[in-house]
Amino acid sequence: MTPRERVLAAMRREPVDTVPLMCQMSIGHMLQQYRCSPADFWHDVDTFADGLVRLRELYGFDGILVSLHGHDPSWRGGIASRRMTEEYEEIVWKNGDATHYLFDDLPEHIAARPRELPPVGEVSRNDLPAALDVIPVSQGLKFFIHPAHRFDIFRTLHDRTGGMYSLHGEITSPFDYYLDFVGYQEGLIGMIDAPETVAMIMGHYAELIEELAVAMCGEGIDAIKVSSPYAGSSFISPEFYAAFVLPHEGRIARAVRAQGTEIYTHTCGAVNDRLELMFDAGVSGIECLDPEPLGDVDLADAFRRIGHRGFIKGNIDSVTVLLQGTETEIEADVRRRIETGRAHPGFILSTACSIAPRVKREHVRLLRTLVDRYGGT
């Protein structure tokens, strides 16, 4: 099997020759390994694509997750000044904003005029964006999607990889867009104070995300990951998940699968109480499944409960195992997960959350060695 065929088979719960290996990497980790201007890595489509390709080669992954898309080819035109310091690369933009591009983590954006957050109950449809022009990457940090270059990155990667590896796109969930729009604390309170308005806001975003996702499916990708980090039990109840998250993620999942593309949800932290609910959205699989202590999912138990409903991609603890563990500890942990997962159809070995920035290169490379040693089916 080619690496791409292996991942595709696993996502369809078909037999594989060996357990597929495909991890998502944090921007910080990629920067630490790829070593280039962090601003170029963030903004320049060719630099970002080259980094993805080289790191896939370095680690022997069977696929590539494309976490950023829509790079603006004329981004340098907005720069007022640019300098390198010991701690970061700084760009001051012509609009007065500044961005600090760290060498080992996500950029920090300092807006000249902080955005005023609207009270949830007062939001009307007219306040919402007409087009999906940003990816809410992290608190206070957005990646702007250029409308005429939304998917250039996929074309570049196809040219570079020749279809050998499984390419996955990434979208952000309506719940995440909602929290980003109104603020996190206010957004959570709004779910109690103004549930109809919350549903309206999420529905609006779901409509925009659906359009983006369906268009992305036309770019030759095998799957779309839905990033939904705040939908776990650290934030909301299963009842709120069913009421606020499922309808909108379900709509997107149906639209993507109608295109023949797989779709999976990534939710961080504790999700053990909602594994079945996550599949109720109609997704092909779920990713992450953080184990203790960062989450609460036991892989064997997850397969018993939901293994028949789709694929599972996970669940190595990137922090306490890959970052803080010794090679002996990593081997013991990862071997156990491989042996649990390979007994079932539909398993892709991956870190739960992204490979943390300071994880040693040798620790990530060990994953390929362990899959080759223990992952045969």
Binding site: D105, Q185, I236, S237, P357
Partner: protein, 213 residues
């Protein structure tokens, strides 16, 4: 209606997150002669205790906890001037901030809200704090506990620098840590005085450290 009945109603307002009614009930109680201390100790705090327990038991989640904390805060806005005038001190003072290099404040803000909702004074120094800023805030406010927050695996590595900053100056204040990638094991390794997995646990931890209930 007796004071006892009104205090029970007040507790329930906090549990249910009914902030308008919680303020009204506090005003009614005060108008009928209840002492501010009694309103706090026998009405508001028992309500928040139930909220904390239900959160730990998985019966309440963050949105519900936040509206309860809002109900508590609304009531406290009425009570605080009266408590201050009666020389009633808060349960303690907690200095809290996200460490240098980290702009994230969701978790920190939730901890602040919950501590305030449980009778603590919180000095929130925001995000991106170098050790010098923690030390300066300590000198100014003399908190009983210092809380460090980090969302990133890169920035949590700065936590030991802050702890060392206090220890090297012989400042015995307990320093506690939390944040998505932080674990009990990590907290132990860096010499923190405590670790809390979430905002409710943070209140319990501070209660234990200060031997408050």
């Amino acid at each position: 209606m007796t004071h006892h009945s009104l205090l029970l109603i007040l507790s329930q307002c906090v549990i249910d997150g009914r902030h308008v009614e919680s303020e009204q009930t506090v005003r009614t109680l005060l108008g009928e002669g209840a002492s501010p201390m009694s309103v706090l100790d026998d009405g508001l705090l028992p309500g928040m205790a139930v909220v904390g327990q239900r959160f730990r038991d998985g019966e309440m989640f963050l949105p519900q906890v936040l509206v309860s904390a809002r109900a508590m805060k609304t009531a406290m806005a009425v009570l605080e001037p009266l408590l201050a005038a009666s020389n009633v001190e808060p349960k303690g003072t907690v200095l809290i901030g996200t460490v240098k290099g980290d702009v994230h404040d969701i978790g920190k803000n939730l901890v602040s809200v919950m501590l305030q909702g449980n009778g603590y004074r919180v000095v929130d120094i925001g995000t991106q704090n170098p050790v010098e800023k923690y030390l300066a805030a300590y000198e100014q406010h003399r908190p009983d506990v210092v809380g460090l927050s980090a969302l990133l695996t890169t920035t949590m590595m700065y936590m030991p620098t802050v702890i060392a900053g206090f220890r090297s100056r012989g400042i015995p204040v307990p320093v506690i840590v939390g944040g998505a990638p932080v674990t009990q094991r990590f907290a132990g390794e860096i010499g923190a005085d405590g670790y809390a997995k979430n905002a409710v646990d943070a209140v319990d931890l501070v209660n234990r450290l200060l031997k408050r209930t």
